[in-house]
């Protein structure tokens, strides 16, 4: 197993801690959105509309942030 070859150096632990700190807010936000997506009302048409809006918002935000990110790194 590759895992057995890992040396748990202070640098590695620091990197993993940074990784957790970086990803934690993103995961919390995603979990909240996922929970919200799973809560439906009695109105099927409204549910379809709301869920489509949620998907469209996520996709638009992703495309915009990725565009900004690419622009930042292409400088």
């Amino acid at each position: 197993m590759e895992e057995k070859g890992i040396k748990w150096t202070p640098d590695l632990i620091n990197t993993l801690a940074q990784l957790l700190l970086t990803l934690f807010p993103i995961v919390v936000s995603a979990v909240q959105q996922l929970q919200q997506a799973g809560v439906l009302t009695a109105d099927v048409q409204q549910n379809i509309k709301n869920l489509a809006e949620m998907a469209n918002n996520s996709n638009q935000v992703l495309l915009q942030t990725a565009k900004d990110w690419e622009a930042k790194h292409s400088v």
């Binding site: 895992e3 890992i6 997506a37 379809i48 489509a52 469209n56 996520s58 996709n59 992703l62 690419e70």
Partner: protein
Amino acid sequence: MWPFPPTRKLALCLALVLISTACARRINSNIPVTPYENAMVLNAQLSTINQAVSLGVQQVVDSSILPYKTGKPIVDATIDIANVDTQITAILQLGPEFSKANAAQLQTLLSKITDSVKSLATSGALGIKNPKTQNEIALDISSIGNLASSILINLRQAGVL
């Protein structure tokens, strides 16, 4: 050097947490959730997870934890998936009858998402040469592909496909 094995386990745990928190249920009503609504929920979840993956990779690169050349193909794949999912959503939001009339296009678009996930894992874009490790990474990021497959299953149950 980026520590792949612990990060892989972490990513798998995060994916499991994300998926396990997202079962569809109807409030204030005894009417069961329809397969079409389930497909819509899964589609919303797919876009949410894709966005989280994209944003996560961007921030990990910006924090200098992951090199830009390793992160860019992943972000590019999430962009492709978002573009395809926008087209899927445009069809699904018009209801079961419209989706049924565009069943072939829906199937093609959903296949594009599963293909994007598979090709990202096996292309070597992640900087992983070992086929066994490639497979493990494929499992980690396959939650997006699995959601696309689940959408297909629910659309079949709804009589759309």
